[in-house]
């Protein structure tokens, strides 16, 4: 589904990623773990075109997406969430999800301004679908609220509802459980599982080890910009290099 080939990223003098190659299998939940500053978010930023890698290539289902603009990826089935939740804060919860359907609709400036019949139909479709995704994430009651006024945990859910609205093949989630309490974390795990069940491949960056070990079928460990290990949760838990890296940091 997703393949990285020798990705290196250098910021000024700092090497954030060094020759990282990895593969995410279609239909898997792959965890990406590693201490703070390991380069996990940088990896997501490169895959989604927000940063340009110093060298290396990114393939999405065998298509080289290394040089594609961020905005063209959603239509190819690749979306992500953010470590520091990026909502459209002034818009309502429903509208946030409606933006998620941007690639599922095509009316332009003219047909929107003149409310041409096709646009009215499309608008109805967008709203209906968005409401479905709110239900999917349990946010129906919040539909009319301004996104900025949501409690933090629901903000994380909204971000996921918005990405689901794009009907992706692959979702990259950057620490979806960060800042959540135990109950919310359990809910989040359930939601991620539900998303995976619907056939979507998930890549998960997460510090909560219980969550990662619980739901991932494959784990990649980054440390200081390099791939340290990969394998099943059990293999990773028993890997001496991984244990050393985490103990060394702690």
């Amino acid at each position: 589904m997703l393949r990285l080939d020798g990705i290196t990223k250098i910021f000024g003098g700092l090497t954030a990623l060094e020759a990282v190659s990895l593969e995410v299998k279609k239909g898997s939940i792959t965890g990406v773990i590693g201490p703070n500053g390991a380069g996990k978010t940088t990896l997501f930023n490169i895959v989604t075109g927000l940063y340009t890698q110093t060298s290396g290539e990114v393939y999405l289902a065998e298509k080289n997406i290394s040089r594609l603009a961020t905005e063209s990826l959603a239509a190819l089935g690749l979306v992500r969430t953010f470590q520091n939740v990026e909502l459209f804060g002034q818009m309502t919860v429903l509208e946030n999800v409606m933006v998620g359907l941007h690639t599922k609709s095509r009316s332009g400036v003219i047909s929107c301004a003149f409310k041409l019949p096709r646009q009215i139909k499309e608008e109805k479709y967008i709203k209906e679908k968005a409401l479905n995704w709110l239900e999917f994430t349990g946010l129906t009651a919040e539909a009319g609220n301004t996104a900025n006024n949501l409690p933090f945990g629901k903000g994380r859910l909204l971000e996921i509802a918005r990405t689901m609205a794009a009907e992706p093949q692959l979702i990259l989630m950057d620490e979806p459980a960060a800042g959540l309490n135990d109950m919310e974390t359990a809910q989040m795990a359930g939601l991620i599982y539900k998303i995976w069940e619907s056939g979507i491949t998930v890549v998960l960056v997460e510090h909560n080890m219980d969550l990662v070990m619980d739901i991932c079928d494959s784990i990649i460990v980054l440390n200081l910009g390099k791939k340290l290990a990969e394998g099943t949760p059990r293999e990773i838990q028993e890997n001496p290099a991984v244990i050393a890296a985490y103990l060394g940091e702690g």
């Binding site: 927000l50 905005e71 459209f88 933006v99 690639t103 400036v109 918005r162």
Partner: protein
Amino acid sequence: MLQLFLKNGLVAKTTMTKEKREIIIFLIFTLAVLITPFFLRGSYFLNVLVFIGINTMLAVALNLLLGYAGQISLGHAAFFGLGAYVSGVLTTRFGLDPWLALVIAAAVSGVLAFIIGFPILKLKGHYLAMATLGFGIIMFIIFNETVAVTGGPSGLSGIPNIQISSLIFDNDWSNYYLIWTITLLVMLLSINLSQSRIGRALRAIADSEVAARVMGVNARLLKVQIFTVSAVISAMAGSLYAHTMTFISPASFGFNFSIELVTMVIIGGLGSIYGSFLGAAILTILPEFLRILQDFDIIVYGLMLIIMTMYLPGGLISGLEQIAGFIGSKIKSRGGSHA
């Protein structure tokens, strides 16, 4: 008008969908615009209302860019001026029909905005402000210095009125209905746009450009598109201004007016089309009262901007909505206790 507005707001909360409420508000607004001239005596007020119409178009145009997409322009008076001058020059020097001149003026402005939009809108924040400011200054210098074409500082006179077969728009009544028909159209189309996927994408860009792009919004192209739409509307307003005034000079299209436009949008309410009307109305009427202050009126605008951003960031329109909501809940609770 206010009473209707309040009553409508009250009903809407309980029984009406948002779309229906929007349509009714627009119809009430249209009705108010259509009948207002019958309650006015003398041409002075009618003339002020013509200016309010033109300024409303301009404020709405700038609001699409500033209030929705969150992109500042400190040079929007230039598009207004470009529309006025293209129309003025084509009709006085080449004898074109004013309608045709208006269409050409809008097209020229749109093409220019589209071309400069790509490099300029790459910039953000202060840099964008500086670039648009520079554009405004350059255009002002062109209006001033190309004396052979524009007439320079002494202006361009003898611009013909707009005409539809035998109807010539040369008096306050006919101008009022001409300008306001087009203003209402601009408002309606802008409201439609703001409530569509394009409007949502614009607001998404303003809130988080990165997230908008991840969701597939081509932020760069959309910003240029809305900049172009904004320039086209502004040029139409400029063309209409030229044909109703029949005289134009560079002084109307300078830096000061660009700032006035920004003030209208912010005071009225960012991201509100009716707010733009409010802002335009206030900034058109206020100078009449501020004449005694002469050039110091800009200080009053500055103060208004500061007070607004500090205490009412949603603009006057949000203040009105709050008052309406407050009175609405009062009436409701009283009704409830009687029942």
